[in-house]
């Protein structure tokens, strides 16, 4: 066993989470390798430091504050829950006040080619999530109550796109989030847990909330997200982060998605942020999964797509255990922030 292999197994070794054969191999190697012994001690020291952090106690008023907020929620809870999000959805004036959950379940074929579109010029949020989608896949849009996506006949190649509205009020001293969850929307977390997809076909982030907001509140910011899980591919071997200054974040996103697709990259998620009172999206965050082999050339293209404000790349070491679990060529996960 090589030192690099041993190093990857030191963490489960410390937890006694290795097969007996592996355990013996590691022990035998450690006897004769000073370098790996030092690695083990450093890892152990790190764990000890973490475990040595003291427990903290919640503030004295924690439970009372929570109780008050819950009472408020109970009082505001509409008698007919099912109608609540709908009523709110139509009642809010115009675009800025709208928020909803969209869950779009569709066949795998038609997704890659086109960037998501989030915003409608009309009233409220749009159901049109993808432009130029040539897929014959089924699209189901559901506001608010969001049925759990069902498995398609034919297997696991099913993805979930979720749009998520989040409205935040500008109240610095307040601990209020003003982002109250629609109960039925949230309940799917549990269902998704139960349905945890097989590795590689999973739902990356649980679409979990449809905000319920009093009509008299003035939302100041709004975010929309479209997300889907990783779509197969091998282990994540690299993580990279890039912040670019661009003149038009939306346009830049479209252009990057197009280029990324031509390199075989896939869009995992995208989010847009805009400032109250403005139609313009002022920040876009894009998450891409890129075949590791294509990372180099595409990274250059990405860096040329705007003025680089920040970037970093981390390579991730994998243990032998990973390769059994995640099959396929290794991939890089890239998060790109496009800022105006």
């Amino acid at each position: 066993m090589q030192c690099s292999d041993v190093c990857e197994l030191l963490s489960p070794y410390l937890d006694g989470f290795l097969k007996p054969g592996e355990q013996k191999q590691i022990e035998a190697h450690l006897k004769n390798c000073v370098g790996c012994q030092a690695q083990l001690e450093e890892l152990r020291g790190t764990i000890n430091l973490l475990q040595g952090l003291p427990e903290v106690t919640p503030p004295a008023a924690f439970r009372n504050e929570l109780r008050e907020r819950l009472q408020q929620i109970e009082q505001e809870r509409p008698t007919d829950r099912a109608k609540a999000p709908k009523r709110a959805f139509y009642k809010w004036p115009g675009f800025m006040a709208a928020a909803a959950v969209l869950v779009v379940a569709l066949g795998i074929t038609g997704v890659w080619g086109s960037p998501a579109r989030w915003f409608d010029s009309g009233e409220g949020l749009i159901a049109q999530l993808f432009s130029g989608n040539s897929s014959s896949g089924t699209v189901a849009v559901d506001n608010g109550k969001a049925d759990r996506p069902e498995k398609q006949a034919g297997g696991t190649e099913k993805i979930v796109f979720a749009g998520k509205g989040e409205v935040k009020e500008d109240a610095p001293e307040s601990t209020d989030f003003n982002m109250l969850m629609e109960p039925d929307g949230l309940s799917r977390e549990d269902e998704l847990l139960r349905d945890a997809a097989p590795p590689g076909a999973g739902v990356m982030s649980v679409p979990n909330a449809a905000p319920e907001i009093a009509a008299d509140e003035e939302p100041r910011q709004m975010y929309m997200e479209n997300m889907k899980g990783r779509m197969g591919g091998g282990a994540v071997a690299r993580e990279a982060h890039l912040v670019l200054a661009v003149t038009d974040p939306e346009q830049a996103m479209n252009s990057i998605v197009e280029k990324a697709n031509s390199y075989g990259a896939e869009v995992i998620a995208s989010h847009g942020a805009l400032v109250a009172g403005q139609r313009e999206v002022d920040t876009v965050v894009l998450e891409l999964q890129i075949p590791l082999a294509k990372f180099g050339p595409l990274w250059e293209v990405l860096n040329d797509s705007g003025r680089v404000m920040d970037s970093n790349i981390n390579d991730i070491l994998h243990s032998a255990a990973d390769t059994g679990e995640e099959q396929g060529s290794p991939v890089a996960m890239v998060v790109i922030e496009l800022k105006k």
Binding site: L43, G45, G52, L317, D322
Partner: protein, 206 residues
């Protein structure tokens, strides 16, 4: 009078806030500590822990008892953590530096056999470890907090994060190495003041 979680959950589902408050009493320590270690300061931890409990309360109707309440709780609180971090990253109104600076929430606790100097030094070390933790990615933070601080098993973490045991194993491995590297890298800035072994072990825990 210690009704099991399941009974309290059923009552809470019907809007019994007293029952839910009992659940909060049982789990507030866990949730608050998780939020505190995730965010690195008390102000944010308080907000996040409240948010976590509100989500729990609102999600209760969907909880059908396929997992234990605590596993389900970890799942929802993890999601609250992720969402909070993403919200902040999009807003960019709190930089990592600020977060790290505001991490000074822990008041050193003196014990009988420890001098004030030792206590101060230990406190400084703990702040430093917290800063390193807060500088990791959200997934690395979550897995480390669940394993090292909340003491969850690999199986419990897998259930809470909705991933496989293999993923927990590899993610935990990466997270530990990442934290070790952060501590080492920063230690160099501190002229080797902090060592990775001996100090800060569980014997020093408060």
């Amino acid at each position: 009078m210690h009704p099991p979680d399941e009974v309290l959950v059923e009552k809470s589902k019907k809007g019994d806030l007293d029952a839910f408050e009992e659940l909060v009493r049982r789990y507030e320590g866990k949730v608050y500590n998780m939020a505190y270690r995730f965010m690195g300061n008390h102000a944010d931890a308080g907000d996040l822990a409240q948010e976590g409990f509100i989500r729990l309360y609102q999600a209760l109707p969907g909880f059908r008892g396929e997992s234990s309440f605590s596993t389900w709780m970890y799942r929802i609180v993890s999601n609250a953590c992720r969402d909070e971090l993403r919200r902040r990253q999009r807003q960019r109104n709190v930089s990592l530096d600020e977060l790290a600076k505001s991490a000074a929430g822990n008041i050193p606790v003196y014990s009988a056999e420890e001098s004030p100097e030792d206590a101060a030094e230990r406190h400084e070390l703990q702040q430093y470890v917290q800063q390193c933790l807060t500088s990791l990615s959200e997934e690395h933070r979550l897995v480390l907090i669940m394993r090292e601080m909340q003491g969850l098993s690999y199986e419990e973490i897998a259930a809470a994060l909705g991933c496989s045991l293999g993923t927990v194993k590899s993610r935990l491995n990466r997270a530990r190495h990442a934290l070790k590297d952060k501590i080492k890298a920063r230690r160099e800035l501190f002229n080797g003041e902090y060592r990775l072994s001996v100090k800060g072990g569980t014997s020093n825990a408060v």
